[in-house]
Structures are given as structure tokens and as C-alpha cells.
Subunit: 569 residues, 2 copies
Amino acid sequence: MRLSQFHLRTEKETPADAEVISHKLMLKAGMIRKLAAGLYTWSPLGLRVMRKVEAVVREEMNRAGAIEMAMPSIQPKELWEETGRWAKFGPQLLKIRDRKEQDFCFTPTAEEAVTDFARNELASYKQLPVNFYQVTTKFRDEIRPRFGVMRAREFVMKDAYSFHIDDDSLAAEYRNMYDTYSRIFTRLGLKFRAVFADTGAIGGSASHEFHVLADSGEDALAFSETSDYAANVELAEAVSPGGRVAASESLRDIDTPTQKTCEDVAALMGIPLQRTAKSVAIIGSDADGKEQFVLALVRGDHMVNEIKLAKLPGMADYRLATEAEIADYLGSEPGFLGPLDAKKPIRVIADRSVAALADFVVGANKPGFHIAGVNWGRDLPEPETADIRNVVAGDASPDGKGVLGLARGIEVGHVFALGRKYSEAMKCTVLDANGKAVNPAMGCYGIGVSRIVAAAIEQNHDANGIRWPAAMAPWNVAVCVINPKNDSAVSDAAEALYAELKAAGFDAVLDDRGLRPGSMFADIELIGIPHRVVVSGRGLEAGTFEYRARDATESENLDHETLLGKLRG
Amino acid sequence: MRLSQFHLRTEKETPADAEVISHKLMLKAGMIRKLAAGLYTWSPLGLRVMRKVEAVVREEMNRAGAIEMAMPSIQPKELWEETGRWAKFGPQLLKIRDRKEQDFCFTPTAEEAVTDFARNELASYKQLPVNFYQVTTKFRDEIRPRFGVMRAREFVMKDAYSFHIDDDSLAAEYRNMYDTYSRIFTRLGLKFRAVFADTGAIGGSASHEFHVLADSGEDALAFSETSDYAANVELAEAVSPGGRVAASESLRDIDTPTQKTCEDVAALMGIPLQRTAKSVAIIGSDADGKEQFVLALVRGDHMVNEIKLAKLPGMADYRLATEAEIADYLGSEPGFLGPLDAKKPIRVIADRSVAALADFVVGANKPGFHIAGVNWGRDLPEPETADIRNVVAGDASPDGKGVLGLARGIEVGHVFALGRKYSEAMKCTVLDANGKAVNPAMGCYGIGVSRIVAAAIEQNHDANGIRWPAAMAPWNVAVCVINPKNDSAVSDAAEALYAELKAAGFDAVLDDRGLRPGSMFADIELIGIPHRVVVSGRGLEAGTFEYRARDATESENLDHETLLGKLRG
């Protein structure tokens, strides 16, 4: 491709209304343009990148044995009512009434449509397993579309749906898709993690999210640095630190007139923060459903995990206690709370790491005082123990392998063992080997194709623009021509190099627009081309080309052979 | 691809509710499945064919210098109001209200969106000419969706839009696209014609439709058999047959008691039908807008063309005359009407071919009688003459080259020189070489990608199923294995041949499903694979493969070398 014949239009200014770096850079590089809230036109440059992602996704899905097909965007209400999702999906489902007053939606996902296809097409276990996929435009009517194509309303998704005669076959395909997704993100050159996900209401089936790691990611992830364990921080298990040591101190009041936080108390006492416990006063309910005052204890260096807490008995609808309730039960004001000397009976839930403490410090339930040398069993009963905190970096990995690190991630893929939820609701059956009609087990597997483009930029950029991984770059090598219109020797040499690179299989682009070098280089850096080669009169005289990798800080003058070697990697 | 790992599901029965052969065969071959009225799921087999069409379209558009991008399916009302098309497009425009009560449509075409893109992206004549295209899903809320994907509501269209600094540049790109479309349909292996189209309200700009020729086509086409002239029969000019001969007969009444049609009168008199003229009584309006009785005369072997007639002065809203009006003006009943001896003044419009007649026959305006030996100028005044008939096969071509043939066609492409209609309405300007803001001229160019699949079948089928042109076939060669599970020598030989064909670049498929030969061959014929090779135990013994082209009636036993030569063509 010659850039003079391509439509490239970059912006000098950084767009003011874009909140995240990928949105800013996609606008600045001219990859997308907003048509309306959450609706974007993909320019030739933007589409070129998206097509590279699509191609890798298709190749790997095909290699994995999945079969591409295509379902309509517009789907009838009756279909969605069979599973109850017409009502349940909520206002994100864009509902449409046609000229005959029939109701339809613009599909955000196609479980119903594919199950309808399957119940007509699949008759026998001999046709299973089968995995159908499509790469199509989807729509979610987001209440607040933002971050450009990261959370757009109209987007491109690869969705796949597999059908199985039994759970073993589903498990095998789930693993196959898990491995396929790993190959896809690896080929795309992205740093990613597969994260065990909460299956929530679906009921115990397996589910993994695939996250591109980026500081700006919406999700906090914990992962083992030495195994493939990874989970959302909201879900990652904080394992017990092991047995507690024997008590060695006696109980004593500590004068903490202004020290209301564990950090301040530990600093005053000159002890590690890990020896303190903070008490969070909340209201849950008892076995009879009556309100119950609860003190949740986590170590001074830990944070309560509200999702884990809410899963404990009586805590489904918990709330923070009011100051009046705290005064009533503990006789203190916040900042000095603790599990000893409560005025009324309370429930104490200690995080595993608090249950493992000896000689620790808590609030004294007296304004201005904490208590040190506290020991379970001696000074107060052994507590109810549970995992109620967020993991932190350095925690042992729950799989017993290595310690956890933390990262932020952007969800770009999801694999899901659905089971028979849809095949049962929609009466999709096949005959098994015994001639009996059974509901096939299903899996579904999604990849946010357009979102990957933005996520890759969040992970790969610098002050000068995008730094595409090789597989996603719009082109891999830019041949930049200095002054092409006035120097035919330079122009000829550039054309020759460009032709040579194309013939050798490089995805090369010739920047023959005749811009001044500064503007040209800024564009090439902004749009993230991995390799830049400059052809100039001075270089020709010296018999060299000026080469610079996108991630290098200096250019090098290379002769023809060395240059080609460099480009070949 | 191995068919055992592909989802192929053909139907034995011909679907009862399909009206046209392409719809029947696409259902029978399992290429599509209906989700709702006008909404179809494309099965893996169907999608495979559509992708072949897409690939050819993309390659040729890219070769022509057009640049691919992608615009949203969902577009805001405000945009469509800028051109007035929100109201004008009518109920085919699927209107949508989102959760915030904003109005959108599912785009049937993207002139507004691309002009919005252009007015933001294009600033200078230096960026022109440029031609943007996309291959995306479109929607038209057809009142009566039918014929499967031929007239579906949701469909895949390639739409392109070009921008130009002046009309010459537009004309050049129009020609470029015309040639590109010709290459696309030629590569797809389709018999087609580019047809000059009525530009109607657009105002004189150029427009051509591309039609796939098929007996079942909705459009009647006239084309020169020796030049590239082609037009819709509704529009094709019927040229004058030349000067009339001198009168040689005298006027005389012919007794035609029961002969009310030209055919019957000519048969009774033993004269050619071409010597008779039929009179169609209609009501138009005169220069003052008052109703006027008109007799339109066409030759006995011709048909009145209502579109041509309506373009004449005073005929815009013409209607057929009632029997009472006929009796009032002509004093006769229908079946015996003619331009002589009217009771009241009438307007007579003669088709060019009638104006060229001498000694011809018309109705006598007396029940039971016709008049022969009629001559213009002698028996009645020279008539108002116009082209008011449909052309027929054998007419001289309007371009003076050869004679016209007739065919029926399915419109699959359209090129259109739009001019400045959209750029003016949407205030899209660029600076010209003098620094003056001007509205760019535009062209638009559409191809019905999904429709081509159906049109190709209408053109290429037989009693056994589809006969794909090579470029559109899901696979080009089927290697059919007889009894693969029980004969490993056969199975090994088939695998080896399949691998050899793949390595040699053939798009081959291995039918390893283990079906009985009859069912297997029926499937391969139904889905239209151009070449079939059978590997059997008997063939192996003889050292031959059984080869049959889809369009052949007999198989041949060929040795390995001869087979490969045959497949290479």
C-alpha cells in the first residue's frame, strides 16, 4: 500500500473528550470517528487493524475445529421469550418494532438463535460434538457508552457455541477453546491472563475470563507468578497463613488518644501493621432473620472483600452499622472498636489471617484506647473464621504454587460451560446412542474483536502513540521517502525497497505522501508501525538506510543486507 | 476440509413454501435456514459460498483503488433528516428507539453516514478522488419478504462511495467502477449485462444496473446482440422502422362479427399481424388540465409501454377510458375501436411503427367491423408520433448496432453518479486548488453480496441441484470415498489424493462421511461441486479414479495423471 493512495488522517491535537488513552490515540491516529453516542465509524486504518485481529481469531477457531456460520442481527421476540431473556436481559437489549408491529431485538449474543438452528439441524449424537461460530456485529444499549470502542454500543464479537452429547465432551471442548483462546492472544502479541470467573446464577459450571493486562483495566486480577492460577481479586481465595504461635504477651491497654487507624497505632507502638486487626461494624441477620450486630475483623494491612463477606450465612444483605448502633453494642465511637468488652452479644467473624494472629492489637471499645497482647482462646473465644479479605501481592497462591501478584485487566474473552440451560428451555434434543432424545450440553465462547483493538493500545503505547504488537500492526514496515517529488533517485530507491519487501512477504507500506520528515515520522510513530526505514539522498550517498524500531530510542544507519536481516528479526 | 468434520445437512424433500428455485435449492442444500420472515441464518455451507463472493468483491475493489472501512449499522435520525430521507425513505427504513428515547434506524444504505465521515475527514482537493467501501449487513423492512435471500430483510451489501473535485473525475471513477463490476461478475463466472437505468428524480446523472441473466429474473431486459447496449425493457427505446411506403389500397370495411383482437382480424384477412394497429382508449389531460380522450395506437404485434406513455405531455396521470366514455367519443364498443370516424374530437398518438404503416387495418368504430387500407395523410391527418411501445426481440438496437434480444435479469449491482445531492444537503465541502470551498461530486456503487448467491443459482442449476461456477463453489473438487470405514486401502488412497490436491492448490473436500454412494453423490451434486472424484476398491484394483464433472452426464475412469490434467483444466 502507498500512503498517498490510502486515506490516512491523523490529528495534531489530543481529543479533549476522550477519557482513556486508547480512545485518545484511536481518535488521534484517525482509526475511528464517532457517529453518535457509542457508535463509531472505523476508518480504513482502524478497520485494517480490526481485520488483522479477525483473521487470527478465524484461523485459530478453524484450526480448533469450530465451523463458521452467520446468524441474523435482528431476531424475533418469540425466540428470546423461550428462555425468558426477552424480559431478563434488561434495557441493554435494543428492542425494535417492525412495520408490521412485530417485536424484534438487535442481538447482543446468540444463544437462542444458535439453539434454534441446532434443534432443527442436529438430530443425532453422530453429529456431535460440533462448535459453530460467527464474527458479527452485536449491540448492547449501554446506559453510558464510553471509552470509545472499549464500551461501545455497536461492536464486533466472535461468538461460538458448542453442542455435546455429555458433560465429558463439553469439558474437552471447553479445554480446547481455553487453549485456542490462549493461542489467539499469544499470537496477537498481548500480555494476558485467563482468569477463573464466578459462575454466579448459572450454577457451578466452569467459566474463565481472558483479560488483557493493562494498568487502566477495569478489573483487578490476582495471579500466581509461577502457575496458571488467576482470578478476579473479588473472587481470589486468600488462603490461611497457617497455625498461630503461642501467646507470649499479657493484655494491656495502649493509650492512643488520636490514633484511630491501624497504621497510626502500629506506628505509635513501633510494631508491624500485620500485628493489628481492624474491626468493621456491620448489621447482618441471624438464623431467624432478625438484625444481628457483626464485627468483621481483617488484618491492619488487609481490605474487607464485600463479595466474600456477603456469601457468609446471614450476610447476603448486610450493611454498615450506624454510629448509634455501634455505641449501643460496643459503647464506643468508631476508630477504637474491637471484639473485647462489647456491651451486648455480638457475632465476630475473623478473617483467616486474623484467626492466625497471636499477641495482636485491636480497639478497646473505649475512646482513646487500643488493647495489645490479645490472644484467641485466652482473652476471647475462638472466632468464627472465614475468607473475607482481598488478596494482596505476595499472598500464597490458592493452588499451592508460588505467590500471588496483582494486575489490572480488560476482559476481552470469556469461555463458559453453559450446560443444558438453553437446550432444555428451547426443547433442543438429539437422539443418543440408545435412541433416546436428550438435551445436548452446551458451551459458549466469546471474544470482543473490536474491544481487543482498544485493549492492545491500553497495553502498548508511549508518549508518541501506539506501539502495536507485530500481529496487529496495520503494516509491519514503513518505508519513508524524504522529498519524493523532487528527488527521483530517492523515490526510485524507495520504490525498489518497497517492492523488494513486498516480494519478500513483508506487510510494508510506502509513505510517499511527500510530508516533511518531522510530520511523517510523527504519523508513523503515532499509528504504531513496528519498523521504520527512511530513504533519503544522504543515505543513498552513504549506501545506507536509516532504520528505527518503534520501541527504540535511536536510529541506526544500516546497509541493505543488515537492514533486511534486522527486519527478518 | 473433511465433510465428517463439517456440518452438512441436506434435505431429501423439496421445501413446499419456497417459490423460486434458488430458495428451494438453498434450503434443500442446507445453505440457509429461516429464523423469521426475511431473516436467515447462513449455515457453514451457505456462508462458505457467500465468503467466496465477498473475497472476489474485495479483491477487485482493492485493485480498483477503493479503500475499505466500516460504518455503524445503527445510525441516528438527525443524520437522515439532513437529507430529508428519514421521512422520504418510507416504511422500508427500520426505525428504532433506544433506551434514552432517541431515534435511530438500521441502515439500508450509507450515503448520509459516509458524507458525514467525509465532511470531517476531507479538507482539500489533494485528498480527492477517494472511494470508500464497506461490506456490511444492511436492512430493508420489506412489506413482503420472499424468495429466500433474494429479497430478504437483512442482507449483506457491498456499498462504495466516491468523492471528486469535479465531474470529470466522477466520470472517470464511474467508468472505473463500471469496469470493476464487469470484472467481478466475470470472475464469479456469471452471465450478466450492465443495463442503462432510468435516473428518474436524481436528474440526468448516469446510472447502470448490473443484472445476472436468468429466466426467473424479475426484470425484463433488452440488449443488443452485437454491442454493449442494454436497457430495461421499460426504458429501451423502440426506434422508428423508417419511412412508410406509398398507399396502394383503398379504404374498405371488413366484416369482423366476432373478431375483436388484431390477431383474429389478421387471421381472418390472411395478412401479417404487423399490418394491423390496435387502439387503446385512455383519458389524459389537455393543455388546460382538462380531461382529454386519447387513442394510443400500437402495431398489432406490439405492447403499449405505460412508462413511456406517461412521459408524454398531458399523460402523467392517464387512466384507461370507461366503456361509457368510449361510446361517447367513438360511438362503439371495445374490440372495434379506431382513429377514423370518431363522434367527438380526440387526440391520436401513434407509435413510431404505426406512423410508418401504409394500407393498415384498424377498428371501424362500428361493432362488427374493421377498416382496411387505411393511410395517414389521405384517410386521416398525420398523427402525433412517439415511442410508446415495448421493444421486442429483433428490433433494431437504439445504438445502431445490431438487433435487440430479450432476457430476464436479477439486479445484483448498481453504479450511480450521484452528483452533489448529498454533499450539498449535508454541507460537505473541500477546498479546491484556488482555496475555495466546493461541494465534492459523489458516486455510489452497490453490490448485493448475499443476493448474488441466490442469483447464481437461478442461473446455474439442473434437476439434481446447484451447478456453481468455479469461483463460487463451496469447494471445487470432492473426493468421495466408498466405504471408508471398512476398507483402509481405499481410505488411505483417498486421503493421499486429497492431500495431494490440497498441496497442489485445489480447494478440495474429502467426503469421508461413510454414506452409501447414492446418497453421497446426490449430496455432492445438490451442493454443486464442479468436480467429483470417486475412490473405490474396484477403481484401486484397476488403477483408476472415477471422475465426473458436475455438468457431464457420464463418469470416466481416469488414471492418476489424466485425472490431474482434467482437474487442472
